[in-house]
Symmetry: C2
Subunit: 376 residues, 2 copies
Amino acid sequence: MHLLSDILGRPAAAIDTPALVIDLDAMERNLERMAAFAAQHDVMLRPHAKMHKSATLARLQMARGAVGVCVQKTSEAEALAALGVNNIYISNEVVSPFKLKRVVTVARELQALGGQLAIAVDSAEGLRRLAQAAHGQPAALLRVFIEIDVGHGRCGVAPGPAAVALADELAVHPALQFGGLQAYHGRAQHLRTVAERQAAIAQVITHVQTTRAALQAAGHAVPLVTGAGTGTFALETASGVYGELQAGSYLFMDRDYADNERDPAQPQFEHALFVKSQVMSVCASHAVVDAGHKSHAIDSGLPAVHGLALDYANGGDEHGILRGAQLPALGDTVWLIPGHCDPTINLHEHLLGVRGGLEHGTVEQIIRVDARGALT
Amino acid sequence: MHLLSDILGRPAAAIDTPALVIDLDAMERNLERMAAFAAQHDVMLRPHAKMHKSATLARLQMARGAVGVCVQKTSEAEALAALGVNNIYISNEVVSPFKLKRVVTVARELQALGGQLAIAVDSAEGLRRLAQAAHGQPAALLRVFIEIDVGHGRCGVAPGPAAVALADELAVHPALQFGGLQAYHGRAQHLRTVAERQAAIAQVITHVQTTRAALQAAGHAVPLVTGAGTGTFALETASGVYGELQAGSYLFMDRDYADNERDPAQPQFEHALFVKSQVMSVCASHAVVDAGHKSHAIDSGLPAVHGLALDYANGGDEHGILRGAQLPALGDTVWLIPGHCDPTINLHEHLLGVRGGLEHGTVEQIIRVDARGALT
């Protein structure tokens, strides 16, 4: 059996397939461009670590100015906290009493690391359960954001009075500190034209402003509005209402985000994440690569083929079917750009970081997907 | 941090969500029905372990008469061989010289365990590379099946003369033993009506018969034809041409296979694999569960909701949206039937086996997904 670490320092050509590979140069340019955007617009950046699930990449983002990271799951927070990431926001509801005990444990760990845990709520019952779990803990142990539904149609209370009722209840519990509003419109990220995204986010901003005004009128200061993703963050930023951006995919730019008409107000990001695959069968009509939907997620469509005029069709769990005027030969390498980076990374144990280009570069880094499969 | 083993012996109600749960009673009935079918029809069963990726389940199938298992990947063969599964068929092409060295290593391991490794080829170049890797190894170390394309349109040589050319070449290499034909029509498994599946498999049988006749005419005995899946295996069996069935999904029966019109010639299989999820948010129009497409694969469509009149809509990586006349309450458990079991299991580290029913049963077994993420 070969050792994973054997690949370090070797040419990218030696990477066994299929494998998930980072173009480190491209990733670092994306990192810098996003850091520069946040600095220039004086907005905080809290990238979503549900995308990469890696403490190494979370620390890299924080070293370039991010205030912390978001996660969706208690177990993701546990995995990153155990590796020293000290400022984490579970931007999602947790209602199981068993999980809420774990949330409080992580909050204590982050406090000991000099950081803080935050979490979202969207119901009186959820808040009651959270307060019960945190009862008797130090003051302001947990920062709590009230999630409002700004048009996504998933979680969140309706904008306006419902948020005020939750803020009233929150104020009663000393271990819980009102953090502000969670306001994220996921579907808006993937609207193809800039005009569609502008229209959707204009609605979002109205909902946030209405809710913030209602909270303020009821005597609740609103310390922060947090949200936004890679598709729209320039719009939330321009509104002046958002203090924190949760974009995550900018680091790797998947095929789906690249299909959006680009908003010139956003930095230009590059594809930095690839599935390396190999041609394992060829016939007159098509070639078959060894990467199917166990290698990359297809919830946002199929991967694009990098640098070659070939169409990728789904060939099942372990196969991809390539068609085009000029088919590759048996044994050839084909680089795929995943449709959606988040669930693709979750399929892999490691990301291999290549320096100096995919074709002629060298494997410089093995990045563990620390929270891989962290579902609970 | 809690220990996984803490869940053993506890009620299913205590399983944290989302989690992948086996109804052991239903699974064992499926196992028995398939074993009885194979025995009654005097056909060998070699279930596809790409479905469950578990040595425990492979051994369970072999204890009930299966001659071994199939896998798709070298690394799956390595993972199962390391746990003592001694009869494995890589029903897929391997063309990387690095991987082919590993294939030979596994073949030696299985030989030492009293079993044998088999593999598929579909090109002269692939066969040349395989022969080179096996050069100097003991006679008949590897059993080699020639894959023919019987209508699926993926891998495989064309039926007829191309297979004869490969068999001629195979005969030159003492370490390689001609096993027969690999003839699997994946898409036929999911044709909804029995009539459509009958028509597709009739074509398959014609291709196999033509190729077998051509091989025999050229002096090549054809020891075995192997293939078939959960959607069609009664048809391949009835043909009398197939000696071995590769069906895998029968063990768990996913939503997609259950959507097929049932062929009365096949045993009735039951759903035995479920995602346990929890309602984490409710509003007037819908409820949200904590299981999205990081919990279950959606390549074959969305999960069905077990036992409740609710529709599941995709809510992203970590959320599912339930709609229906009677919505569940915050904190309620909802059991989902995955669309496709193979890539769903690959998302999980463990399967929790429950005895005595999902609602009131007890966690009896923790089954590791040994070859999870085994992509190479």
